[in-house]
């Protein structure tokens, strides 16, 4: 069923507010999405009626809180096609999910000279943990390059994968929008004997996600980009991998027994959840995936693809000098459009657009190596979610005229 943006917009209270007297046109969902009433209410209802710490109390509300928290885990597990809830570890965000892999799996499996393959389009969160391991252990990092069209260059894939122990790749670029052929890369990686870590931050909110169909061994997502709250993300990994991995952080929750001379870790997934977890956030994330599931991810994808195609066409028609990074075919990309306009600095573009109520991000988008590859210091980036519509694209296109007048 096609999305009716008029109805969807009504579900997001923030979209009612004005900025500089103008309607809020929020085009920065790749950075963080807005939240529907269903999420906001689920969280406040939890606090108003149920809150207690989880996995501890025997009293009624503690039991209810535990049930809600674990139900949140089950929602996420279903949403990404996991076999079992024990394969879903709650984290603070996807950055922590990737760090968990680097610290726990990485430090028990990678030594000097071992090869980790990343790509030139990774977010810093899938670069820095591995660069740190390189500095600490002397692992070797190789990178799949990016073509001039903004696609991963897979022409030397087998050569680059030769001898690799892990491939870390983003499913969708947060700068170029490029949807990467994860299954193909995963099959080649597995053939070469490597594990596959997929950064799903920009996938899970926008396309149907099935960790098994992707061929992932590790998969990370982040709640606040998928209509959920901040402060929660998840790492999925196959149960036998998680079982074999040592704990990441130590403390309460993650133990079965603690003695003065040692400890026995808890079962998965709790083994990786030290301390009081983000309980209300799990309730909120659960409401967010329910909301997305009710619309249907295929419908979300269709809507965002059409919007992206419309934006690519209107932007290029109106501003022939606009440089759009990444593939120009909307079927190859998610709803993320990074651009540069003449010599106008992205900071100035973003400032001018704000005057019209249009929120776009300016900067390096935590992907400095990719900025270098593109030959720019920064880009402006507009990104879409379920609640955006053609009028939002028109507002962006019209507001750019002010930048033209001021700077060009």
């Amino acid at each position: 069923m096609a999305i009716d943006p008029v109805l969807i917009k009504k579900d997001f209270p923030i979209l009612d507010r004005l900025v500089h007297g103008k309607r809020l046109v929020y085009l920065d969902s790749a950075s963080s999405s807005q939240k529907p009433t269903a999420v906001i209410e689920a969280m406040s209802q939890y606090y108003e009626t149920t809150h207690a710490n989880v996995h501890r109390g025997v009293y009624t509300i503690a039991e209810e809180a535990t049930r809600l928290f674990e139900a949140g885990r089950a929602s996420v597990a279903r949403f990404i096609g996991a076999s079992s809830t024990s394969e879903v570890v709650f984290t603070k965000n996807v950055t922590e999910a990737i760090n968990l892999v680097a610290y726990s799996w990485g430090r028990s499996n990678l030594n000097a000279g071992d090869v980790v393959v990343l790509t030139e389009m990774e977010h810093h969160s899938n670069l820095v943990p591995w660069l740190a391991l390189k500095a600490e252990r002397g692992i070797e990092l190789r990178y799949l390059p990016v073509t001039d069209d903004g696609l991963l260059d897979l022409s030397n894939l087998d050569e680059i994968l030769d001898g690799a122990k892990l491939v870390g790749v983003t499913a969708v670029s947060n700068v170029l929008g490029t949807i990467n052929p994860i299954r193909l890369i995963a099959d080649a990686a597995h053939a070469a004997g490597a594990m596959v870590l997929v950064d799903g931050a920009q996938l899970a909110p926008h396309l149907p996600t099935d960790v098994k169909a992707l061929g992932a061994d590790f998969f990370g997502l982040t709640g606040h980009k998928m209509l959920g709250p901040t402060g929660i993300g998840a790492l999925w990994a196959r149960a036998e991998l998680l079982d074999a991995m040592p704990p990441f952080l130590g403390g309460g929750e993650m133990i079965r027994d603690v003695r003065l001379d040692g400890f026995t870790p808890n079962d998965i997934p709790w083994k990786f959840e030290a301390g009081t977890p983000p309980i209300a956030e799990a309730v909120g994330l659960s409401a967010a995936v329910d909301y997305l599931t009710a619309i249907g991810l295929p419908a979300v994808r269709d809507h965002e693809r059409e919007l992206t195609a419309y934006a690519l066409t209107t932007l290029r028609d109106r501003y022939p000098d606009l440089v759009i990074h990444g593939p120009l075919d909307a079927s190859l990309r998610g709803g993320v459009i990074s651009f540069n306009y003449k010599d106008v600095h992205p900071h100035d573009l973003s400032q001018v657009l704000d005057e019209s109520g249009v929120c776009v991000r300016a900067g390096h988008h935590c992907a400095k190596p990719l900025m270098r590859r593109l030959g720019v210091g920064a880009t402006a980036r507009a990104s879409f979610s379920v609640y955006n519509d053609g009028a939002d694209v028109d507002a962006l296109v019209d507001a750019l005229a002010t930048a033209d007048r001021l700077f060009a």
């Binding site: 992205p346 100035d348 005057e355």
Partner: protein, 165 residues
């Protein structure tokens, strides 16, 4: 609510479109210092050549938004040919306008002219065109853009005062 006209004053756009003192200076005798704004990736390299107690020449390269570039351009015209005391006073006055009040600039300990540096001893300087950047204060995220070149200048001056007392 502040409007774009508070930020993008004509004089700012003029310095952005026609930056003054753009380019490089041979090192030595000049000294070069690079500053980064990690938030947006802006980068500026400042070449500073002193003649005794005087800013003999200053040049700038780098990339950045209209605010960082125009601020750098105006800064270069404001300090070129001035005494070090005047340059330091201009920096202090500019930072005060940006609502950045520092007790004392780093590295000032060994510079006797800065130590006593309170109002009485302060050299009289005027910000001139730089006053146009006042509007930036109303856009707090842009203050870092405006101060990038100034912080780089401070680093360069501190370095030079530490190597040639």
């Amino acid at each position: 609510m502040p409007g774009l006209e508070d930020l993008y004053r004509e004089i700012i756009l003029d310095h952005y479109r026609n930056p003054r003192n753009r380019g490089e200076l041979p090192i030595p005798p000049a000294y070069a210092e690079t500053g980064f704004n990690p938030l947006c990736g802006d980068e500026i390299t400042l070449y500073l050549q002193l003649d005794g107690d005087c800013v003999d020449d200053i040049k700038l390269t780098g990339q950045g938004c209209s605010i960082s570039q125009s601020s750098a351009s105006m800064m270069s015209t404001a300090v070129k040919g001035k005494s070090l005391a005047e340059a330091r006073a201009t920096i202090r006055k500019f930072k005060a306008m940006m609502s950045i009040h520092e007790q004392r600039l780093d590295g000032a300990e060994d510079g006797s002219e800065d130590d006593s540096g309170d109002a009485e001893d302060e050299v009289e300087v005027s910000l001139g065109d730089l006053e146009a950047l006042q509007g930036v204060v109303k856009f707090p995220v842009r203050i870092k853009c405006a101060t990038l070149s100034w912080n780089t200048l401070v680093q360069a001056l501190d370095h030079l005062s530490s190597v040639q007392p």
